[in-house]
Amino acid sequence: MPLFLKTLFKTRGEAIGFIAFLVLVLVIFPLAMPVFRLNLVGKYLSFGFVAIGLVLLWGRCGVLSLGQGVFFGLGGYCMAMFLKLEASDPESTSIQSTPGIPDFMDWNQLTALPWFWEPFKSLPFTILAIFVVPAVVAFIIGWAMFRRKVGGVYFAIITQALALIMSLGIDGNQGYTGGRNGITDLRTLLGWDIRTEDAQYTLYFLCVVLLALTALAAKYIINTRLGRVLVAVRDQEDRVRFSGYDVAIVRTSVFAFAAVLSGIGGAMFVLQVGFMSPSIIGIVPSIEMVIFTAVGGRLSVMGAIIGCLIVNWGKTAFSEAYPDAWLYLMGGTFISVVMFFPNGIAGLAEKFPRIRSLIPASVTERIKGMATKKTTKTVSDGQ
């Protein structure tokens, strides 16, 4: 393999796994599923961005954030604000007392667009904001905390509080944010109707391609020196510090990077699902994002994506059929993953080759012997 590919995939198995995943989501799913189901898969995959961020942040760097929903929400709301402004042009909102502003603002007696909505009339600004807003927020939070050596459990609790603040804050300011119902009724992107089947196919493929690129970027980070520094920060923080690295800036950067990924995921979610609301970014969804990652495997990029697909699919399938059993199953899965398979599905898959060691040694010897016999034509009968 060329050197560049070797940096991305440590073993041939990893490369094959990645290609198999691409075939699955790019060829098999679109052929085998109606567009409605495919759209659901796209929705699950938009959580894959968050999961990849968590693999880097939590699995590799040992920082558990229970507030990834905040950044998912920041990215998602940026996208939703742009789409909402486009959907509320003066003609289609002419029945409102103030035409040209989103409907929920009109219901809440707002007569002008709030200042922070203004820039979201421009698509380039929106796309920039999807990247920059989560990054800046995460950087400020991360820098404030990691510089004071706050980590581990404290960080988890504080980020969880942030998720609560964000969802309550959006909930409580209905006129500015759409409140509990969120921003709904999103229609077009630069005049292109995102609700049609064609658009849903296009957006699905866009999501998959972006996710694959993100996965490659994450794999690249993991397999280069930066990835090794991350693991070192997780396992021996003091030694890394004594070696001259700035632990705080490493953690902050990874946190900000994970936040950007979550933001992209949020934007893709909004494009495919067509709304954004506080119920998608609060405490429970934020922890669910951690669950996807844990079930798939907190150390493995591909594992985390698979975890998103499986857990979300299970949620949709089971919670419709047996809503009661679903929470038991979810809770039970979570406990058993944490207790027995801390590295999730990916960890199990890695253990798989070791099944070979269960086969008695004499058998493997004989197989090996047969192989040597064939290739070298030497008979070792002296054994």
């Binding site: 404030a144 509080a161 409580g172 979570f334 207790m339």
Partner: protein, 307 residues
Amino acid sequence: MGDYTAEELQSIFIMQGFSGLSLFSVLLLMGLGLALIFGQMGVINMAHGEFMALGAYTVYLCSNITEQFFPAFTPYYFVITILVAFVVCGLLGAFVEWLLIRHLYHRPLDTLLATWGLSLILQQTYRSIFGAREVSPRLPDWLMGSFTYGDVDIPINGVFVLGLSVIVTGSLVYFIYKSRFGLKLRSTVQNRSMSGAVGINTVKVDRLAFALGCGIAGIAGAAFTTIGSTGPDSGSRYIVDAFLVVVSGGAASLLGTVGSAFGIAQAQSILEFFLEGTKGKVATLLVIVVVLMIRPQGLFPSKVRSH
């Protein structure tokens, strides 16, 4: 605040202050259990709210049983029920520690995830047994009503709950700082292997401490029934607040827990009056988070050296 006269402001503050005291009591009782489990043992118990709900449901069950079989006993049952709630939650806590927590002491972040799974299961169990609707026990008559003091109404249940939390706090402080078990607990926290070497059964200490923390959550649940009705997700509504109480108080400090529970409850209660809806809560939480970013060790950090 400009629309209120000074006198009105005064009675608003007193009224909201008293309703804040009820919130303070619940947060304090939740926080004490968490501080014990988290501060002393380093375990994050995300299911703590569900233990509180279990305490509340125990009171509800006891109230139904009393009403049906021993109607004459109704005025007194509540006091005994508090003990029952304590014991039930303590037993479940000991079981959970045996089943889950003891395997995860060296992985604190994973206790958080495992207990979150547990909380999902418990919530769904409550939903299956008691239904999704909120329930309230029939409270004895002497808990109803209020004292009137000038133009301020002081609800009796609030005073009762406050008294209860003072008693629990006092007992816990006595228990930890004066009793034989408290000595073992503190020594285990400070140096686990050395405590084991001098003959303290640290496994038993861990289990008892966890059970005690959960039992106090049960008392919190009993207190909660006097000021609100209980649903399957009642506990999870308080869990973030309770964690913030413990963290901002300084994890291992009981005094800090009392102080921060008081501050957070009062701030929330008074701000809720002046800011509509959830804004009071958002403002309080934001202040706590900012304070924690500037002062991560909390208000009253413990003096124990970290290792």
